[in-house]
Symmetry: C2
Subunit: 333 residues, 2 copies
C-alpha cells in the first residue's frame, strides 16, 4: 500500500484538519466531534442542511460545507458511517430554529445512525426531515445497502437543497426540492482499478489486467457484471444505456450531467467521457444545460468514472446556478 | 494499460473536444489547429497571454483559458511539445494589438518551438515576449531540460500575468510581473507510482512497492533520489526542506502555497499534506495567505504530489485575488 498518510487511524482527522487549514474562511472543524461546520455562525431563520457519511469520498461531504450548500458535514471513519453522537452535536451547532434537513446516502449504517440522531434531536424539539439518496441504477441491494446505493447524485441534492435553504425557503419547501432531486437523479459507475482502504492495506477487490467492474459502488461493492475493458466510448454508451432504461431520456429534455471521477482517473479521461455523453445526448435531442466534470464523489484512488443525469426545470436550474462558496464547488459570488 | 480512452492517437483531440463541450461558454477549440481559445473575442488593447506544452498535465494549460487568465493554450501530443504552427495560429487569433506574452515551461522542445513561433509572429509585426518558468528545485538539467524544469509554479505565472493583462496593464508590466512570479516560485514533487503514456502502453518508470521518487518530474523524469516510502509528514518535511534551502523561508514572510496532486492521488491525501505544510510554516512564522489544494499540474495518473511556494506582496496578492473564470480555476465573478 502506497499512500500519503501517517498513522492509518489518524487519516480522517488529518484530512479534515487540512481542509480547515486550507479553507478556514469557509469551514472549521469541531475539535470534540470532528465534524466540519461553516466558519460563519448559523443564520437565524435559515433551514440547516446537514449531510455526512463514511470518509474516503472526498470532496464529499466536507468539501461541500459553505454558503449555498451544507451547514455541516459529519465524516465517519474510512468507508464507515458516523455514529449518532457527532451527528447530534453538529445538528445542535447549526440549528437556527427553522428546521433541519438531513441528506443521507442509502447505506444501512448511514440511514440507521442519521435516524437515531433525528430521534434524539426531535426529542429536543427540533423539526428534522431526512431525504435518502439512492440514485445508483446499477443494482438493487448491495453489500451495505437495502435498495439502491446513493452515489454522485448526492452532490446535486446537497447543492440544490442548500440553495433553497440559503434563499430562505421554509423547511417544507427545502425538503420537497431535495426529495425531487433525490428521486430524479440517476447514476452509474465503472471501475478500472480498485481502491485500498488504509487500515486494511489491501485492494478492495481484484480485477484482471483487461477487466472492469460495470456498475461499481463507491466502496468497491460489486456492480452488475465484470467484463473486458472496452474503448471509452463503448463504456459510456453502456452506462448511458443503463441510465436511459431507468429514466427514459426524451427528445427535448433538459438535463444536468455529472461526469465524476472515482479519484484515480486523470481529468483528461473524464473529458473524453463527457465528450461522448454530449455526442449521445445531442443525437437523442437531449440538451445538457449544466454539467460538472471532475472528482466529486470518489472512492480513494479507485480508477473509473460515473455518470449522473438529472432532468432540470426552471426552478432546479435557478437553484443550481445560485451562488455557492465551498472548498469544492464555488461560483457566482 | 487501463485507460478511459479510445484510439491512443485521438486522446489529446478527444480530451480537448470534451473540455470545449463541457465549458463552451468559456473556451472553444480550433478545428484546424487544435488549440483552446476563449469563446469571447479578443479585447482590443489587451495584452494576449498564451501558454502551451505537452498534454497529459490537465487541467494545465487548456483548463486555464478564460477571463482573467490565458487567452489561448496550445496543447501538444502526450508529453510532447506543440509545434510552431499551431502556436503561431493561436497567437494571430488572440492578438489584439497590445502585445503577446508567451508563458513557457522550461523543456527544450517547448522553449525551441515557442521561440520559433515568436520569431514568425514578430516578423508579422507583433510584439512578443516570452517568460520561461523553471520553478522545480529538484534537479539542475533533466531528461528534457537544460536548467531547471517548469512545473506547478506555471499556474501562478498564468493566473497573475493573466490578471495583469485583464486589467489593462501594458505589455512591459505584464511581462515584468510574469517574470517576477516565475523567478519567485519554487516547487518540488514526489512520486509514489508512475504514469503510463497511452501510445507507449507501459509505465514511465518502475518503483518497488516500498519505494518513492523524490524530486520527480511531471513526465516521470528522475528526481534527486529514490528512497523508501515514509509517512506523509516526513515526505512533506523533506520537500519543504528542499524548497527552503533554495528560497530561504523567513519569519514574517507571506506566501502562497500550492499542494498539487499528480493526477492519481486522492484529495484527502493532499489535505493531509497541506496540513503538514501549514504546521511547518506556522512554526517558522511564515504566513500562508493564499493556497490551492488539488490537481492542477498532473502527470496522467501518476500518484504523488508537489508543493509550490511563492512569496507574496500586495501587488501579487491583488492579482491572485482578481476574478478568474476558467474551467479549472474560478472565483470572484
Amino acid at each position: 500500500m502506497k499512500k500519503l498518510i501517517n498513522d492509518p487511524k489518524a487519516t480522517v482527522a488529518q484530512t479534515i484538519a487540512g481542509l480547515a487549514a486550507a479553507h478556514g474562511d469557509i469551514v472549521r472543524v469541531s475539535d470534540e466531534f470532528g465534524y466540519a461546520i461553516r466558519s460563519s455562525p448559523p443564520v437565524a431563520g435559515k433551514v440547516a442542511v446537514l449531510s455526512g457519511g463514511g470518509s474516503g469520498h472526498e470532496p464529499l461531504h466536507t468539501g461541500f460545507v459553505g454558503f449555498g450548500m451544507l451547514d455541516a458535514a459529519v465524516p465517519g471513519e474510512m468507508f464507515t458511517s458516523p455514529t449518532p453522537d457527532p451527528i447530534v452535536a453538529a445538528t445542535l451547532a447549526v440549528s437556527a430554529g427553522a428546521g433541519v434537513l438531513y441528506i443521507v446516502k442509502n447505506y444501512t449504517g448511514d440511514v440507521l445512525n442519521f435516524e437515531t440522531a433525528a430521534e434524539l434531536v426531535a426529542a429536543e424539539g427540533l423539526d428534522v426531515r431526512t431525504v435518502v439518496v439512492a440514485d445508483d441504477v446499477a443494482v438493487q441491494d448491495s453489500l451495505f445497502t437495502a435498495g439502491r446505493r446513493g452515489v454522485a447524485g448526492t452532490v446535486l441534492v446537497e447543492k440544490i437543497a442548500g440553495a433553497a435553504a440559503e434563499r430562505g425557503d421554509h423547511i417544507d419547501a427545502v425538503e420537497d426540492v431535495a426529495r425531487r432531486v433525490a428521486s430524479g437523479a440517476r447514476s452509474m459507475g465503472v471501475a478500472l482499478a480498485p481502491p485500498t482502504v488504509p487500515h486494511s492495506g489491501k485492494p478492495s477487490f481484484v480485477l484482471a489486467d483487461d477487466e472492469i467492474e460495470f456498475g461499481i459502488g463507491i466502496h468497491g461493492e460489486p456492480g452488475r457484471e465484470r467484463h473486458r475493458l472496452e474503448p471509452a466510448d463503448q463504456l459510456v454508451d453502456a452506462v448511458v444505456g443503463a441510465i436511459d432504461e431507468d429514466m427514459t431520456l426524451r427528445t427535448g429534455m433538459e438535463v444536468l450531467v455529472v461526469v465524476n471521477g472515482m479519484g484515480g482517473t486523470p481529468l483528461g479521461e473524464l473529458y473524453i467521457v463527457f465528450r461522448r455523453v454530449a455526442e449521445i445526448f445531442r443525437a437523442r435531442g437531449v440538451r445538457i444545460l449544466r454539467n460538472l466534470v471532475g472528482n466529486y464523489v470518489t472512492s480513494l484512488e479507485m480508477q473509473g468514472f460515473s455518470i449522473t443525469v438529472l432532468e432540470l426545470d426552471d426552478e432546479l436550474t435557478r437553484l443550481w446556478d445560485a451562488p455557492v462558496q465551498t472548498a469544492a464547488l464555488r461560483w457566482g459570488r
